[in-house]
């Protein structure tokens, strides 16, 4: 059998069959183009974006104050001002997380296996960045832990991707508080480590939210 180009086949059909073929094609396209505008991610929420920016401004100013040698006394964990800051900023993050959870409905990060595999492959190839640090004994176990991360295990069943990234901002904040509690105060050295990690968590969450903007 000779397979003719579509246009040639169409012109060889009788007028009724041709009309039927064209009408079917038009309807299919109408269904595809007119009635289906696909949506794979939830709407951009400026409240979440602004809330993250407000949190970051507060935590950055707080860590800046803590890192000043002159403020060591005021920076003691038991200081009422420090306690007030932690209570208020945690309330701010809890409200933000609640807002995100209300928006996400029953969504789950990584609903499709093909996406998990694609992202997994991207992550696996990028993890080679960590390999040059294997010689540092103190962090080897942690590096191995990172390499063992399984994309689906980490993301499945924990809510939408937005819920996960905002939860990480809150978890990091609680870790900062626990370090402060353990150490008694935040030394400039500790702030030099914690600050970029806190900033990174917020930056990732902001990137996640901004990606949902539609033209």
């Amino acid at each position: 059998m000779v397979i003719l180009p579509h246009r040639t086949r169409l012109t060889l059909l009788g007028p009724v069959a041709r009309f039927r073929r064209v009408a079917t094609m038009a309807l299919s396209m109408a269904l595809l183009a007119g009635c289906l505008t696909v949506r794979f991610v939830e709407d951009y929420d400026p409240g979440v974006y602004d809330g993250l920016v407000a949190y970051y401004e507060g935590v950055d100013a707080f860590m800046n104050r803590m890192a000043q040698p002159a403020s060591q006394d005021q920076g003691e964990y038991d200081n009422p001002e420090v306690q007030k800051y932690y209570a208020e900023s945690l309330a701010q993050l809890n409200t933000l997380l609640l807002r995100v959870e209300v928006n996400d409905g029953d969504e789950r990060c990584l609903p499709a296996n093909f996406a998990a595999q694609g992202i997994g492959a991207l992550v696996e190839s990028s993890l080679s960045i960590f390999e040059e640090f294997d010689e540092i004994e103190a962090v080897r176990a942690h590096i191995d832990g990172l390499k063992d991360l399984r994309v689906e295990d980490e993301l499945a069943g924990k809510g939408s991707c937005t819920t996960i990234v905002v939860s990480v901002v809150r978890d990091n904040h609680l870790l900062l508080q626990s370090i402060h509690s353990d150490e008694g105060s935040l030394s400039p050295l500790i702030v030099s480590f914690a600050r970029p990690l806190i900033a990174q968590g917020v930056r990732i969450a902001l990137t996640n939210e901004a990606a949902k903007k539609r033209d």
Binding site: P5, G145, L175, Q200
Partner: protein, 112 residues
């Protein structure tokens, strides 16, 4: 062009052109995002390891800082997922828009 002039090849050429442009930019952005965040993490982990080795910070504090780094890696995975799905949405909607323009252009009136 009349409607009978539309053929499958024309549709796919149009779809492919749209998808290639959108996917190209989106994929570069996603790759760059993952690389920047992972490099930042690697640098921070290295510095924490050095400070522990020199006895400058307590093991317990180092563990909390490394937990933050691990959290950020998980967060990078989640945000990458959003970037991929947002890009897929843009690609498919751009392709659907191309079909719409092609069909309406061929018909000479707005059908879809």
């Amino acid at each position: 062009m009349s409607f009978s002039d539309i053929d499958t090849e024309a549709i796919f050429d149009s779809l492919f052109a749209e998808a290639k442009d959108v996917a190209g930019d989106a994929w570069d952005e996603i790759r760059s995002f993952v690389k920047i965040e992972f490099k930042g993490l690697a640098k921070q982990i290295k510095e924490i390891g050095k400070a522990v080795a020199r006895g400058e910070i307590k093991q317990r504090t180092a563990r909390a800082l490394l937990k933050m780094a691990r959290n950020n890696l998980i967060s990078t995975l989640a945000a990458t997922t959003t970037l991929v799905f947002a890009a897929a949405e843009k690609i498919i909607n751009a392709a659907l828009k191309a079909i719409k323009e092609l069909v309406n252009g061929a018909l000479g009136f707005v059908l879809i």
